[in-house]
Amino acid sequence: MAQAYTPGLKRKKLYLVKKRRILPIPGKVLVKKGEKVTPTTIVATTMVPGDIQMMPMASMLDIDISTDTADAGGMGLEYQKSMIDKCMLKKEGEEVRANEIIARKKHVLSIFRKECRCPVNGKIEFISYTTGQLAIRERPKEQNLNAHIPGIVADVIPEQGVVIETPATYIQGIFGISGERHGELTVLSKSPEEILTADRIGSECTGKILVGGSLVQGDALKRAAEVGAKGIIVGGIECKDLRDFLGYEIGVAITGNEETALTLIITEGYGKMRMSQKTFELLEESDGKLACIDGTTHIRAGVIRPEIIIPRDDLEKYADSQDKEYLSGGIGPGAIVRIIREPYFGYIARVVSLPPELQTLETESKARVLEAELEDGRLVVVPRANVEMIEE
């Protein structure tokens, strides 16, 4: 049977989410296998090495190290070393405090002296006798990793992190802004077509994750941030509104670190885009429940799409391993797809056939296509590259 491989977005009512929570550098795992966690439970912790501050110590103390020739490797270097060592009050590896005097040079015939004060708390990592620079490493900073979702610790990866398992409704968006947040899901739109306007957002939205329909207006986005909403999930957004909200334009789709007041997840695309019925229904029936969202999007090889996880420990049956499903992609006749490019952008369709021959498009390009039936009954031909699977 003819098949086509087309990556799709997941939207599953019941799904066993297995979330890997990994530290950026090795550290300590604080939870045990089988332990129950909440979104705010600290599951692992590490010490991130501090930043390096370079100090031009020699020039601050007027030590002459200007012999800028290769000869400085011989006698010149020895001389510089003795000069620097004479002035240093601290050694390599020693702890230092901010504003502490770490080097001093006294003038031979004068009571005046020059001093070098440490700019930060830390440790002297390195003294350069060639350039006369000091490298001071700031104190390491503790970095904690929370669970992000409630559930059970299914696996512990020593020194690195954990895998947390939870049955949940799971929806992937197409594009997002800012990182992980959680809060109560509040559906504000009555239908997937409805536009989310500022007048729908009041103080009752504080701390909530808001669901709109086809579009969030710029004012509504601003208002949601003002009242302290945690996130917005919506079908589409106008580019200019996103630019105004962020204060700059996005060039490449690698997001997640934006320091915005809320996380935004777009489920369909740019412009006014009716949220897919199924996605809207899943969100609507989760109204009032806890949602854990992440806008992080990487559109390169190894795509990361934004995700909405709504834990459902009230339900018992869920789908099997996500990895297995991810690897088994394929579209055949009868499959439900979303068309993702004009002239039928946004339509949901049922695949009728996958003709093996290349077909000529309006552009005169020859491409592999599929025949599909739109929801309104029209039969259309679209390039296989322009559809995505809907995994339900």
Binding site: T67, I299, R341
Partner: protein, 601 residues
């Protein structure tokens, strides 16, 4: 290796999204391209094994040809019969972001620029250039280097016997930053030291323990000499040893291939250099990809590559928009358009990068973006392709004052060949479309041969040419290089007559043409055909021998033919939107670039 026994060959390119297999074989006495297969690249999670994508692409070749290539553990090699196995397997790769490097030097416009040129020439993406004379604080440089996590650092700085303090200062920055290897903290980051020769021992002592250090000849032994070869070779060696070998599945892939895996742009670059050698001409080439735009120039024998890492036609399409502005994109559209609609379309392409235009309007919009990607990529290229800075100023040079004031040495009038590769150009439904995109993007002048890659196989042939140059050349000439034709582009602007032409066609006809300003015209001349042309430009226009001076040329035919481009150089589009659209319709129509009968305007 006995080249005569190589009858069946396979080459792959593991791109950032797609792995592409190309199958070649000896038919009679010549080597030809036979079939291709493509599949998604599988270097990232959840697959994390590049060979899965390669196998899928090769399987498509097997299905198309009936030739068995795959064995359970790899590629069947050497061939066992007419329909089983291959005699040679080679590959290029840019998967997982390709080779990402940081370059350093003492002066930005001198040693740092030489290091950047060497890294780009080796096929790298340069993430940052660190120099002693820039405004950033040491703290900022260290922080950025740590955050970027490059695959490798090219550490240049100082002429031989020159600066010590500044070079050691850069060494200190590298040591303090100690960026982690992208593929894991357990690997040492490779550093190529190509600076002041007299500091080699001290650098070894200083960095040798923490880094995989390779020491090579100084990239800039004197101010007026640039030696990039040893650095480039070391980069390739370390790329294989310390980057590729740790990437998911590459340990297997390296065992399958008969020669080292080559970075994709290095393969592309070899082929553009081959064209320059073959035709003894100055060449500009472009690889217009989804994420990056690579531009290559071979001018008076000097090869330079630039990579604009965020100018591309899918992943990076919104960045083209961001950098050039919507007005510069819509100016190439022959129909009225709502800017917000176009912006939304381009952003939707960014988030769904593998889609293809189904409507003509979408195709024309992508072509408009392509012109701007090439234009901006070429501006970047010219900022790298310029004379060595500094040496003329002598020994008292203050490096803080030489921030690249030199102009590019590329003289557009002296470019003999212009070629393009990459998905958008190779898949343009009409060849006239890619010819126009190349002309508008680069604005060549004089007499220029236009070519393009047929199905994207220049990287494959580049790596193949390192083993079997004859086979690579035969395939390149017969199956890869599509001749679009010859362009006559007049330098100058103004109203009225541009030139009189007399064209002696191969069938004996003589065509006399009066060329008017603001026009473009196509004269069919088939592939393999040649025509003699006498050109008499008017005083304000130049075609190669100065304004108003007569010029004779031989034009080679191609799928488009002879293009007489009298639209003006620099090319200026009418300010008024309606006039501009009318003009575009006229130009696109003259080249029959798009289907007739469209309701544009």
């Amino acid at each position: 290796m006995d080249l005569d026994h190589l009858r069946v060959m396979l080459a792959t390119d593991c791109g950032s999204t797609t792995s592409k297999a190309r199958f070649f074989r000896k038919i009679g006495n010549e080597y030809r391209f036979v079939a291709s297969g493509e599949a998604p690249t599988t270097v990232e999670a959840p697959y994390e094994d590049v060979t899965m994508g390669v196998r899928n692409a090769v399987r498509e070749v097997e299905e198309l040809t009936g030739h068995k290539i795959l064995a359970p553990g790899g590629i069947i090699s050497p061939s066992r019969s007419e329909n089983e196995g291959v005699d040679l397997y080679v590959t290029t790769s840019s998967a997982g972001g390709g080779l990402q490097m940081v370059c350093t030097g003492v002066a930005r416009a001198m040693t740092a620029e030489s290091a950047e040129r060497a890294a780009l020439g080796a096929g790298a993406i340069v993430m940052d250039v660190v120099s002693s004379d820039e405004q950033r604080s040491s703290f900022d440089k260290i922080k950025k280097m740590r955050a970027q996590r490059p695959d490798m650092i090219l550490f240049a700085g100082g002429t031989d016997g020159g600066s010590v303090q500044h070079v050691m200062g850069i060494g200190e920055l590298i040591k303090m930053a100690r960026p982690q290897h992208r593929l894991g903290a357990q690997f040492k980051l490779p550093v190529v030291y190509a600076g002041n020769r007299l500091l080699r021992d001290r650098i070894k002592q200083f960095l040798g323990e923490d880094f995989a250090l390779s020491v090579v000849d100084n990239i800039r032994p004197t101010l007026d000499t640039e030696v990039v070869g040893p650095s480039r070779d070391a980069i390739h060696e370390l790329f294989m040893e310390h980057v590729m070998s740790h990437a998911p599945g590459y340990d297997k892939l390296m065992k399958w291939t008969d020669v080292s895996i080559m970075p994709t742009p290095a393969g592309e670059g070899i082929m553009f250099q081959t064209i320059a050698k073959m035709y003894q001409a100055n060449v500009i080439g472009v690889g217009l990809g989804g994420a990056t735009t690579n531009i290559y120039s071979i001018f008076d024998g000097k090869f330079v590559r630039s990579v604009s890492a965020n100018l591309g036609m899918s992943y990076s399409i919104s960045n083209v928009l961001k950098q050039t502005g919507i007005g510069n994109i819509t100016r190439w559209l022959p129909f009225e358009s709502d800017e917000n609609v176009i912006i939304n379309k381009l952003r939707n392409k960014m988030i769904r990068p593998t889609t293809i235009p189904q409507t003509l309007e979408d195709l024309v919009i992508e072509h408009a973006v392509a012109r701007e990607a090439l234009r901006m990529g070429f501006i970047h290229h010219k900022s790298i392709a310029r004379p060595l800075s500094g040496f003329a100023k002598g020994a008292q040079l203050d490096f803080g004052s030489v921030w690249g004031e030199e102009e590019s040495y590329i003289d557009m009038m002296k470019i003999g060949w212009l070629g393009g590769t990459g998905g958008l150009l190779s898949h343009a439904p009409r060849r006239a479309q890619s010819a126009l995109i190349l002309l508008d993007g680069f604005q060549v002048e004089g007499i220029v041969n236009l070519i393009q890659d047929s199905v994207f196989m220049m990287p494959h042939l580049g790596v193949l040419s390192t083993v079997h140059p004859k086979a690579a050349m035969e395939i390149f000439e017969k199956d890869c290089m599509v001749r679009l034709g010859t362009c006559l582009a007049f330098r100058g602007n103004g109203q009225g007559k541009v030139a009189s032409l007399r064209i002696n066609m191969p069938d004996g006809r003589t065509l006399d043409e009066e060329v008017e300003s603001g026009t473009i015209k196509r004269i069919p001349l088939g592939v393999g055909e040649k025509a003699d042309i006498e050109i008499n430009p008017t005083r304000r226009f130049d075609i190669g021998s100065g304004g108003g001076h007569r010029f004779s040329a031989k034009a080679e035919g191609g799928e488009v033919g002879i293009i007489i481009d009298a639209r003006g150089r620099p090319l200026t589009l009418p300010e008024n939107a309606s006039d501009r659209r009318k003009k575009l319709i006229e130009w696109y129509g003259a080249l029959e670039a798009y289907p007739k009968g469209l309701q544009w305007g």
